[in-house]
Symmetry: C2
């Protein structure tokens, strides 16, 4: 498990990270003044919001469940359909999202930021060689830099590093079941997911087992290609026990139910109660420690 | 400036304070799952929300501006009309507030809290001798205990303790103007306010100078007594520079404008630009330091 998830295109300086942490909590760039990244990704709830679907500006309902922002930067792409290439693009595009920040234009956001005296100084320090440091691209880069630090190592990592008793017997049994049943064929990599797209419902249609209110065709709606029907990014499982409810539509509240449904619709397997419970316990071991920096709120500059 | 604001009726134990801090951030007791105390009182914004009027469950607009929760427990009463006797009553009644938490009943809240396994243990530890520890009264007491710790000493306190150079020359001049003009006749006590009710508009109707969209009769709406027309609790001024916009309806964005309006409508005084600026600078010295405990987010228990 990496300590940070560096960007291929820029250097994560302390100035950028500190500014990004503030902007992550900044509501004044939203049309209703209530919406920041932290609204749908509060760290008290492990970077997710405990809702089926998030509520953005003026309480508007977002199309899908908010995945945790913790470790999110380590994934192949962002959003359930993988249609944001990285955390920076996600942060930038969310500003104009009708159900997220709802800003009328990028210029409007830049003007807002520019109206708060202290930000001029902070953007200048973070983007030294930039003629116009206050830009949405820099806003996105700063937030991206912050999000790339949100790594949450857990007992599972200690286990992987060789400390065999970092997991209990039940958790180890759960890991074994998790591997034997084939969960790892999709939930792979350091984050146990976030490395590929996959059809939700390989064996049976997902909506026959979830409590989905409507059918979401997933990536198909982005590409309009038949083979992309019901494809979603395989979610990472880091901190999954802390981030109910589950699936792209948040239709399942209980982690045990989610485990059983996944086995059924992806692998055609009926898990016993004991198998489910062991996997449930193994997944608890993926709940990481949130660093002091993550749980410490930044103070935002005064308006005037 | 007291370090805490103790209750006359109960002991503030660490167990209560720790639980109260969690409950302050707990959204799952609201009807829409988005609303916690912290929604309208985020510490990144100094315990207020930077909005004219707060938005509660399903984005509903609250009747008045959210005052900061910092030092609030040190006031004579809570809410703009002084119709909540203390922070505990405020926390309890907000649960059923139509535009705040919107819970259908206290029993519903208790059931919600009881459905989150970890809370049973935490309420038991905080309310040891209680047969039914999970109750809204205990919810309110725990939150009250937490809020009673939210004291933010500032440079002004250092000055009062005798460190004369804790304030700059301009700030001292501002303090002198603040006293000479008579601001202290209402903005009195350790918090510079929160000790009495007063008519907003002693000399001239407030709405002739503010940008109020409608006239609020203040405490009159609670008591229906003619002498209570336009009476509001005199707001404390601790951290006022960090908690724009201003007045019961958040109708004025700029602190300098708010200072001028107050002098005009309460005291009949036209402040010069220099006088306004000095008071503005003095008020900055009331911005306190938020303790590590205040700015550290609690982690909330998993849902299932």
């Amino acid at each position: 498990m990496p300590q940070t998830f560096p960007s291929a295109t820029y250097t994560m300086t302390q100035e950028k990270i500190r500014l990004g942490k503030m902007l992550f909590n900044e509501k004044r760039v939203s049309i209703d003044g209530t919406t920041s990244c932290a609204k749908c990704h509060p760290f008290s709830y492990y970077g997710a919001d405990n809702l089926e679907k998030s509520r953005g500006n003026f309480g508007k309902i977002n199309p899908r469940n908010a995945p945790t922002v913790l470790n999110a930067a380590g994934q192949m792409s962002q959003h359930w359909r993988g249609d944001r290439k990285d955390v920076e693009e996600q942060a930038k595009k969310a500003l104009l999202g009708k159900a997220s920040f709802g800003a009328p234009s990028y210029e409007w956001v830049e003007k807002r930021l520019g109206s708060i005296p202290k930000y001029e100084e902070l953007f200048k320090k973070a983007f030294v060689n930039d003629k116009n440091p206050i830009s949405v691209d820099n806003y996105a880069e700063a937030i991206g830099a912050w999000e790339r630090t949100l790594s949450t190592p857990s007992r599972f990592d200690e286990f992987l590093e060789g400390r065999s008793n970092a997991l209990t017997q039940e958790e180890k049994a759960g890991l074994k079941t998790f591997m034997d049943k084939g969960c790892t064929s999709c939930h792979s990599g350091a984050l146990l997911g976030g490395t590929m797209l996959q059809k939700f419902g390989v064996v049976s249609p997902y909506w026959e087992y979830t409590k989905s209110k409507k059918i979401d065709a997933g990536r198909y709606n982005v590409t309009k290609k038949e083979e992309d029907k019901y494809l979603f990014k395989v979610p990472q499982l880091r901190n999954v026990a802390m981030t109910a409810p589950y699936f792209h539509d948040g239709s399942v509240k209980s982690l045990r139910d989610a485990i059983k449904i996944m086995a059924k619709v992806q692998l055609g397997a009926d898990l016993s109660q004991k198998e489910t419970q062991n996997i449930y316990l193994f997944l608890q071991a993926l709940s990481g420690k949130l660093s002091e920096d993550i749980v410490t709120l930044p103070i935002l500059p005064q308006t005037n």
